[in-house]
Every structure is written in structure tokens, then in C-alpha cells.
Symmetry: C2
Subunit: 335 residues, 2 copies
């Protein structure tokens, strides 16, 4: 059997190792060709698996003595050579695993992947690419970069567009993915020099179905399949939208539970609210691909629970199944 | 009586002149020391006022033959010398009105105000400053710049902080307004060069109560009274949050009206939903001050309805009552 192997750094996320292991167990039960190498404190991992009454010949362990903390600096991975994060990335680099996943600190992870795995030919920098839910049923939008590179060139944005289009075709089954350039207005003269140049570069490409500029208010509207931007702006757009969503839902919750009469009426609408929150729930979209590397590297939210890790592991598994990296290579070559 | 006079450009907004006039009538009835000079097509304005059965000795008219359209370029105001927008701004410049308000095109308005009214001493550029509702009851946050200047210097951001702090004290009654610097992380090393330098400048100022960096997800959380940022980033943050809010509320509405049972249950919660949407409704906060000019200039959403115009006119009236420009001057001098 042709196994798909994920090197999973289970240390360094906010909620301890339990949710990471529970999510792994769930996916291992579903996917019979999945192998997971748990990287971290082997004793602790094994103890927890025993508690969870799970054993399998499709799991392995790589014991490490260090771990990267959320407070660690971006280059801490160089000093912590026996950290679970570094060791997990090395497993992929050495071909012992097909992909790496972590819920650990973002900045050191990006730096370590950049130095250890390196980028695809023609790519100067990888991008951090989360999946954004939209108001269109079953439609998601890929947003990149959201923070791997704060400043980008028009060429970077073009590479992001090429890679995300390929990913959208392969993984999201979109025949002709539409790419939008995040900007403060629709006219092609809008924005900074970067945007005007990127607009030209994206228009000129035959491989990219360019929609034109897309305003931040339409990111969640499902108009395009891919939104490209520099990492600083992407991060601001993503976090603004998340903050508004969270605050708004909290306000609604507070208003609906203010007194017993409202609570009773709200109970009857439970299913309706579940439908909405399922659509916009970031836990179902907790994983972001670090796209543009020679190997598959996923990152799950630092505060991931079981459901978040499960979603990320499944995305990782799908990326391996779809041979994503080789297809991204081809997409970049065609241009 | 010491009248407060607003020059109101009633042309050029999306919904015709009706909502502008209806809002004016409402505020004129409430504030007996308010005068409004309606600038635009005098015949059309008078006809509409007659239809609305309104007359007053506190209204005047300035007939103009041109108007700035939404599609007009940024410097169109130079060619359209007899446009309602230009004439209204000139009334303020000449001291015939205390403030100007419009629902017309944003970019030409900013340009025309810059060229005709000019900036306060020490201010290189005005900022566009909307009022953002937060989850804290009766607490708003001033966000600037959101698009008057796409690129800013640390000095600009400091001036924004000084002016918005003064405004927050005067108009929002905040004793010691807290200022946050919009950034992608809380640590002072985060962001681009601009942010690291601005962090220093803001920390060093004795006039500014500097909170530190604030992430976009907390703009609507009511942590700070003022958020400063460059116009490009501010515009992205604002529009991302607005888009998410709008899409989320639409989704909820769709889910709650899916069938008759849900509709009936939702009816019982009408008051709860009204509470939430009143809090986050941008119509109650449709006005943005163009802060940093020698005179008071407000802008209402292009798609303003009566309620939006009313909110903007009221903000304009309050700014005149509070002698805002002179107090901003003092705040800049103290530094």
C-alpha cells in the first residue's frame, strides 16, 4: 500500500497534546493509508495514547527534547535543533514524511520551513494561505499572503496567483479559478505602486483568470476563488474580518440570552444559528498551507482544538493525495 | 443668536436630494440655532422642500450649475468651478458657513478641501476619520486615516493621534483617550519600518496616552478610543470588517427566514436583533470628519439615506458647537 505520511509536531500549541492526538486518531481511523509520525515528547505522547486507548501500526514516534514556544523569536529554531518543530520539518526534508503539520508558533515555523525545506524554483518566498469561508454554499476563497512576507513584489503576487490557482483546481475542484487582487477600489489605477504594477502583471498572464481588483468587503462574498495581496495587508484584512465576525456573534449571543423569554425563543432557532456558525466557523478552516515550498507544510491555529487539528490534518492528507507540490511546480513552469 | 451654519452640498450622492433634505428638516426642527445653506440646483431643492411642506428663515440657497459625479476624477473639481461641492467648500473658506458636509464623491472632496481650505499649521495632510461602533455600550473608536493618504509618515501618524485625542476629549467626552497603533501584532518590533518608527514617536509624546500596538481584530472591541494607521491599511481594515459584518448579518437573516416556524420564533426576538444592529449599524455612524483642515469638513456615505445624513449633520453641528478646529490647533501647539 502506498502510504501517506504526515510528520506531526504535537508540541507547542496552546491546548497541550491531547487535541492533536485525538484528531490524529479520528483521521487514522478514517484513512487506512494514512501514517502519522508523532514528533515531540515520546513518553508523554505514548501515555496519552494509552489513556485514549489507541494503538496502531500506522503510527511512529520521534522523541525530541526541546520545543519552540509561542514566545520564541523567529530564529530560535536555529538554537533549538532538537525541537519537535525542527525535527518534524527535517523528516519531510529527508523524505521520511510526505508533509509536516504543526499548531506551534507561526513565525519560527515559516522561517524554519524556508531554511530547511526551501522554495520551489522561481519562487522567492512562500506564502501563508488560509481558506476563507464565503456566503456561497460550499465555496471557499484562498487568501494569500496573510503574513509570511510583509512586503511583496508584483512578481511575488503573480507567483501566489499561479500557485493558488493550481491548488484551487486540484484540491477545490474549480475548473477555472478566478483571481482577484486585493485593493481599496475596483479601478485599475487604485492603490499603491505595487497594486498598479501587479494589476498589469496579472492581466498579462495567460495562465491566470484575472478578475481585477477586489475590495476587502467582498473577500467573504465568494466572487473570486483566490485573493492575492502582500502579507501585511492580507493579515490586516483577515484579522479585521475575524474580529468583526467574533464580536458580532458574541453580541448576538448576549442579546439572545438576556432574559428567559428570549432564551426560549432562541432555543427554537438553534438549528438556524448552527447553520450560520458552521459556515463561518474558522475551526473547520483552521489549516493554512505554506505554499511555494518544495514540500507540503501546513499550520493549524495555535489555539486549535480537536476539530481544528482534524480539519488541518485532513487538508494535509488531501494535499498529499493530490500530489500538490508537483502540480504547483508544473503550474509555475507553464508560465 | 449665535447661529451655527452648515454649507450642505446636496447633489452628487446616490439617492438624489430627497434624503439630504429630509435629514436637514429634522435637524433644523431640533436645533433652533442651526442654519443650513443648501448648495446645488436651487429650483430642484425648492421644489422638493415645497413637496415636503417645509419652509424656514434658517435656510438659504446657493444655486450651482454643475455637480461632481461619483465617476469624476480626483481633480475634476478644478474644472467644475461651479459645482455644488466646490461652492459649498468655498462658503466655509470665505467664512460664510462654519462647516461643510457632502454625500458626494470622496476623492475629489478630499482634494478640493485640501486645495481650498488647506491644512492646520504643522499638519501635512488631513485624515479621513470615521467613528467605529464597538461592543462596549456607548463606546466608539475613532479610526484614522482610512483613505485620505494611502502612504503616511510616523509624523503624520503622530499628528493623527494628537488631533483624534483632542476630538475624543471634546466631542466624545473621554478624559484621557487611549491611542492604539494598528499593527499585525502587539510586540513593538512588529510590522513594517513605518510601524516601528511610529511606535517610538507615539511612545515619546507626552500629550498622547499610547496603548501600544493594537491588532485589527480588536478595532471593534472598545479597548482604545483612537486607532491610528496609514490610509491604505485603515481602508482595508474598515472595509474588511464592514464586509464581514454585512455578510454575517445577511446569512443570519436568510437562516432565520428559511421557513414559517423559524420566522415566527425570530419575530419574538425582533427587539434583540434590533439592539445588536443598532449598535453595529453604520447608518448611525455614517459621517467621517476630514480632520486636520483649517475648517470643519464632513463626509457622509455616498449611499446615505435620511438617517445617515441626519447622523452626519448632527456630527457636523456638534463639531461646530464644540469649536473643534480651534481646539485641534491648541492640541497641536502643545506638542
Amino acid at each position: 500500500m502506498d502510504f501517506k505520511t504526515i510528520a506531526f509536531d504535537v508540541m507547542g500549541s496552546d491546548n497541550g497534546i491531547n487535541p492533536a492526538l485525538e484528531a490524529s486518531i479520528q483521521l487514522l481511523k478514517e484513512k487506512k493509508d494514512l501514517k502519522i509520525i508523532f514528533v515531540g515528547n515520546e513518553e508523554e505522547i505514548k501515555k496519552t495514547l494509552t489513556k485514549l486507548k489507541f494503538s496502531s501500526d500506522r503510527i511512529e514516534f520521534l522523541n525530541t527534547t526541546q520545543s519552540i514556544e509561542m514566545t520564541d523569536g523567529i530564529l530560535e529554531f536555529r538554537r533549538k535543533k532538537d525541537s519537535s518543530m525542527v525535527r518534524a520539518i527535517e523528516l519531510v526534508k529527508e523524505g521520511k514524511a510526505d508533509a509536516v503539520t504543526t499548531g506551534g508558533a507561526t513565525a519560527p515555523y515559516i522561517a524554519a520551513c524556508h531554511f530547511i525545506i526551501k522554495e520551489l524554483e522561481g519562487v522567492d518566498r512562500p506564502a501563508f494561505m488560509p481558506v476563507i469561508p464565503t456566503i456561497i454554499k460550499n465555496k471557499v476563497t484562498l487568501l494569500l499572503d496573510v503574513g509570511a512576507n510583509l512586503e511583496c513584489t508584483p512578481k511575488d503576487l503573480k507567483n501566489f496567483a499561479l500557485m493558488a490557482s493550481a491548488y484551487s483546481k486540484i484540491v477545490n475542484d474549480i475548473k477555472n479559478p478566478l483571481v482577484g487582487l486585493l485593493n481599496i477600489g475596483e479601478e485599475k489605477s487604485k492603490g499603491l505602486e505595487l497594486h498598479r504594477e501587479a494589476y498589469k502583471v496579472l492581466s498579462d498572464s495567460k495562465q491566470i483568470s484575472f478578475y481585477g481588483n477586489i475590495e476587502p468587503r467582498y473577500i467573504t462574498s465568494g466572487i473570486v476563488d483566490v485573493v492575492v495581496t502582500d502579507g501585511y495587508t492580507g493579515n490586516v484584512a483577515l484579522k479585521s474580518a475575524e474580529g468583526m465576525g467574533k464580536n458580532l456573534l458574541n453580541e448576538i449571543k448576549t442579546a439572545l440570552t438576556k432574559n428567559i423569554f428570549r432564551k426560549l425563543a432562541a432555543l427554537r432557532l438553534r438549528k438556524a444559528f448552527k447553520e450560520v456558525s458552521a459556515k463561518f466557523d474558522y475551526k473547520n478552516h483552521a489549516g493554512a498551507l505554506l505554499i511555494g515550498l518544495n514540500k507540503i507544510a501546513f499550520k493549524s491555529h495555535g489555539s486549535s482544538d480537536k476539530r481544528s487539528f482534524y480539519a488541518t490534518l485532513k487538508m494535509t492528507y488531501n494535499a498529499i493525495s493530490n500530489d500538490v507540490v508537483n502540480k504547483l511546480k508544473e503550474a509555475l513552469k507553464d508560465e
